[in-house]
Amino acid sequence: MLTALYVMIGLALLLGIVLGYSALKFKVEGDPLVARIDAILPQTQCGQCGYPGCKPYATAIAKGEADINQCPPGGDAGVHALADLLGVEYKPLNAEHGLPKPKSVAVIDENVCIGCTLCIQACPVDAILGAAKHMHTVIASECTGCELCVAPCPVDCISMEPIAESPANWKWRYPVFEIKPESTVTKKSAV
C-alpha cells in the first residue's frame, strides 16, 4: 500500500520535473498562430486589408480583431485556407477591401521619372532601385504588385502591368470535356 503510494509520488515528481524542464527547454518563441496565418497570406504587403502589411493583419486575425476575408490578393483560396486553419466558416471576400486582380508588376516610365524617390520610400519590399534626381526602375522579380508606389508618384509615371502568360509560366488548363448525355447512355446500354 505504502510502496504504491511512494511509486505514484515518485512518478508524479519525475514527470513533473520532465515537463517543467521541457517547458523551459522547448519553449516556443513568438505566437505560432500568427506565423501560420502569415504563411497563408500572399505577402503582397499591399495594405488593402486595412493593416500596414501581412504580418499586422495576421496578428489582428489571431487576436480576433480582423475578419478572414479582407485579403483580395489571397483570393478565395486564401480565405478557404484561413477558414481551414482557424476552424471557422468560410465567407466570401469582402468587396470593401477590393477585388482580386491578375498578378501585376509596377513599371516605371523611365523617360518621365524625375527621380523624386517617393516610390522607393513607399515600396514595402525594396523592389525599386534608384537615387535622388536619378531615374528609378522596378526590379520586376521582387515586385509583389501591391500598387503602393503608384499613388505617391508626382508625375504619374508608374503603371501596373499584368504579368503576361509565356511558355515559361503557362499552366495546363482544367480539362473540360463533353460528358455523354444521360439519354444516350441508357439507350446504348439498353441496346
Binding site: D38, L41, P42, Q43, T44, Q45, G53, C54, K55, P124, V125, D126, A127, E142, T144, E165, S166, P167, A168, N169, W170, K171, W172, R173, Y174, P175, F177, E178, I179, K180, V185
Partner: protein
C-alpha cells in the same frame, strides 16, 4: 585505360547473364513503325527561312550573342548557355539574322516565345571547326565544350547533357545505359539512326563512358527492331570497350528512363530520386550520336532526325535542320500541312501543334499528320466506375483513379501526397480507361497548378523576408538617428553649461564689436555741414531732432544694441532645446551678429 577495358571485358555480358526484369504495367498499342522505316534517312533541301527559339531545352533561356542584321556562318554560336542548366543555340546554316523577336514555338501552350529568325544565304558555309582530342582534355573542359555545343537529351526531355555527364563523387555512375528502346508508336527516328549510324553512336558512347567512368555500359533496344539490334551489335564488336546490346521486350512505356533501368539492371529508381542515386545514368542514342558529332567533328547540334508519318505520301525519317518550318517538312513527306492539327511526339505523349508554321526544335522527334481514321474523335467521357484498370497498367505504381479524383476536385495537396510527380504522363491509364476519361489531362493540370503554387509560395517567402528586412532597416535607421541627436544634444549642453568662460568671451566680443561700430558712427560726420548758413544749420538741427524722435530711423549703433539685447537670451534657450541639425545653423547666429 587498358585496365578499365579489361575490367569492362570481365563484366561483359554480366547483365545478360542475370536476365532481364520487367516493370509493372504497360500497354501494347499498335506499333505503326513499319510505315516510316522502309526508306533510309533522307536529307532535306536547304530551307530559306529558319526560326530558332531560345528556349529549346530545360532550364534557363539562352543568352543572345548576335543582333539583327549580323551575317552568321553555319555552326556559329547564336545564343550561349546562361548558367549551368542551359544549352547553347547555333546557326544551322549560313545567312543573315533577319529579326529577333517573339515567334510561335512548338509548345502545348501555343504561345509565342523569343526566337532568332535566320535568312539562309544558300552557301551553307561552315564556320571553322575541328575535332577535339578528348582524351588529352580535362573532363570539365570537355563538358564545357558539350555545353557550348548545345548538347541536350534528344529523346524528348531536352535536359542539358553536360550536367548528366558530370562525375558526382557522392553518386558514382556504375552503369551507363543507352536508350534505344523507342517504345512509342509511330516514332522511328532512333531506330533508323541505329541502323544507319551505329558506329557513330558507339563513338559517342565511348566518350560518355570516358566522362562518367562507368564500369558497365549497355544499350537497350526493344525487340521489335531486329535490324537496329543487329547493326548495333556489329558496331559494338568493333569497339575497344565492352558494350552490351540488350534486346528488351516490346512494351509501352519500356523506353521511359526509369522503366528501362528497371528492365536492364533490375533496380528501381526510388520515388522522387534521380537514377544517379542508384549509380545509373541513361541517355538516348541520338544524344550519344550528337556527342560524337561535337567531339569527333567539332559540329554543334544543328540538326536532328525527325520521323514524319501518318497521313503523308512518303512517311519516313528526315535529317532536318533545327529551325526549319514543320510545314516544309510535312510537304517534303508529301503531306498537306493544313490537315488538321499536327501532332509533335507520339500519339501517347505528344501534343497538338498550335500551327504548322512552327519550327523543328531539339525536342522534335516525330511529326504525325493525323487523319480522321487514325485519331477518331474521342468518345465522350463517362463517369469513373472505379475499375482500377488504370492502376493495373500504370508503370510507376501510382493509383491513377485516386489521382483523378483529387485532381478533378482540385485537392492538390492530396494529389501530391499520392505522388503525382512520379507520373511520367505516359498515357497508359487514358489508353485503357473504359470510360474514356482524359486522365493525363487532369494530371497535367494538377501538376502545373502545384508547380505554380510552389512558385507563388517561394515568391511570398522572399517578399516576407524583404519586407521584414525593410522594417528592420527603418527601425535601425531611426535608432541610429535618435542616438546621433542624443549625442549632439549632450555635447551642446556640455558646451553651454560647462564652459561659461567661453560664453563670457563671446559676449565680450559682441560688446566690443558694438562699441567699435558706435565709435565708427561717431567719427563719420557729413563733410558738407561745415560753412553753411545759419538757416541751413537750423534746418539740420530740426531734422536731427525729428530723427531722434523716431527710433527706427535713428542710427545703426542703437539698432545693433537693440538686437544684441533681445536676441541673446533667445539663442541660449534655443541651444538648450534644439537638436543636432538645427543647432548647426543656430550656432552661426551670434557670430553673424558680431560682424
Amino acid at each position: 585505360m587498358n585496365a578499365i577495358v579489361n575490367i569492362s571485358r570481365l563484366l561483359k555480358s554480366k547483365l545478360a547473364r542475370t536476365g532481364l526484369s520487367s516493370f509493372k504495367g504497360g500497354v501494347h498499342p499498335p506499333q505503326h513503325k513499319l510505315e516510316s522505316t522502309t526508306s533510309p534517312i533522307r536529307s532535306v533541301t536547304l530551307p530559306k527561312h529558319l526560326v530558332l527559339p531560345l528556349r529549346q531545352h530545360v532550364g534557363n533561356v539562352s543568352k543572345l550573342q548576335v543582333a539583327a542584321g549580323d551575317h552568321v556562318l553555319k555552326g556559329q554560336l547564336l545564343a550561349k548557355a546562361d548558367g549551368q542548366v542551359s544549352a547553347a543555340v547555333h546557326a544551322p546554316t549560313s545567312g543573315v539574322i533577319a529579326s529577333i523577336g517573339n515567334q510561335l514555338i512548338p509548345h502545348p501552350s501555343g504561345l509565342p516565345d523569343i526566337s532568332i529568325t535566320l535568312e539562309a544565304d544558300g552557301r551553307d558555309q561552315w564556320i571553322e571547326h575541328q575535332a577535339l582530342d578528348y582524351l588529352s582534355m580535362s573532363k570539365p573542359e570537355l563538358l564545357d565544350h558539350l555545353r557550348e555545343a548545345g548538347v541536350v537529351g534528344l529523346g524528348g526531355a531536352t535536359f542539358p547533357s553536360h550536367i548528366k555527364l558530370r562525375e558526382d563523387a557522392r553518386h558514382p555512375v556504375r552503369t551507363l545505359i543507352i536508350n534505344g528502346a523507342e517504345c512509342e508508336p509511330y516514332i522511328s527516328c532512333d531506330d533508323m539512326l541505329m541502323r544507319e549510324r551505329a558506329d557513330e553512336i558507339v563513338r559517342g558512347i565511348e566518350i560518355m563512358r570516358y566522362l562518367l567512368d562507368a564500369e558497365v555500359c549497355a544499350i537497350g533496344i526493344e525487340d521489335n527492331k531486329p535490324e537496329a539490334i543487329q547493326a548495333m551489335r556489329e558496331a559494338v564488336a568493333k569497339s575497344a570497350i565492352a558494350i552490351d546490346v540488350i534486346a528488351v521486350p516490346t512494351i509501352y512505356p519500356g523506353g521511359g528512363a526509369k522503366q528501362l533501368i528497371k528492365v536492364i539492371t533490375g533496380k528501381e529508381v526510388p520515388s522522387g530520386r534521380l537514377p544517379t542515386e542508384i549509380g545509373v545514368q541513361c541517355f538516348n542514342v541520338a544524344t550519344a550520336y550528337s556527342v560524337h558529332r561535337v567531339v569527333n567533328h567539332g559540329e554543334p547540334v544543328i540538326s536532328r532526325i525527325v520521323t514524319v508519318t501518318g497521313n503523308v505520301a512518303r512517311p519516313g525519317n528526315y535529317e532536318a535542320l533545327l529551325g526549319m518550318s514543320i510545314s516544309e517538312l510535312v510537304q517534303l513527306a508529301g503531306g498537306r500541312a493544313e490537315d488538321g492539327d499536327l501532332v509533335m511526339g507520339g500519339p501517347m505523349m505528344g501534343f497538338n501543334l498550335p500551327s504548322a508554321a512552327v519550327p523543328v526544335v531539339k525536342a522534335t522527334n516525330c511529326i504525325i499528320v493525323p487523319s480522321a481514321e487514325m485519331f477518331p474523335q474521342p468518345e465522350p467521357a463517362l463517369p469513373c466506375i472505379r475499375c482500377t484498370r488504370c492502376a493495373d497498367v500504370c508503370p510507376v505504381n501510382l493509383q491513377p483513379q485516386e489521382l483523378y479524383w483529387f485532381s478533378k476536385s482540385q485537392n492538390l495537396e492530396k494529389a501530391s501526397e499520392y505522388n503525382i510527380f512520379d507520373c511520367i504522363e505516359c498515357g497508359c491509364c487514358t489508353y485503357v480507361c473504359p470510360s474514356n476519361i482524359p486522365l493525363v489531362q487532369y494530371y497535367r493540370y494538377a501538376k502545373s497548378e502545384i508547380i505554380a503554387q510552389d512558385r507563388a509560395k517561394e515568391a511570398a517567402d522572399i517578399a516576407r523576408e524583404r519586407n521584414e528586412f525593410r522594417l528592420m532597416r527603418i527601425e535601425r535607421e531611426k535608432q541610429e538617428r535618435a542616438q546621433k541627436h542624443a549625442q549632439k544634444a549632450a555635447g551642446a549642453k556640455a558646451e553651454a553649461g560647462g564652459d561659461s568662460a567661453a560664453e563670457a568671451a563671446k559676449k565680450a566680443a559682441i560688446a566690443a564689436a558694438v562699441e567699435r561700430a558706435k565709435a565708427q558712427k561717431a567719427e563719420v560726420v557729413a563733410k558738407n555741414t561745415e560753412e553753411v548758413s545759419p538757416r541751413v544749420e537750423a534746418e539740420i538741427a530740426k531734422i536731427e531732432a525729428r530723427r531722434a524722435q523716431k527710433p527706427e530711423l535713428s542710427g545703426q549703433p542703437e539698432q545693433t544694441e537693440l538686437f544684441a539685447e533681445k536676441q541673446e537670451p533667445a539663442v541660449t534657450s534655443a541651444v538648450e532645446q534644439m537638436d543636432g541639425t538645427q543647432l548647426l545653423s543656430k550656432e552661426k547666429q551670434p557670430t553673424e551678429e558680431a560682424k
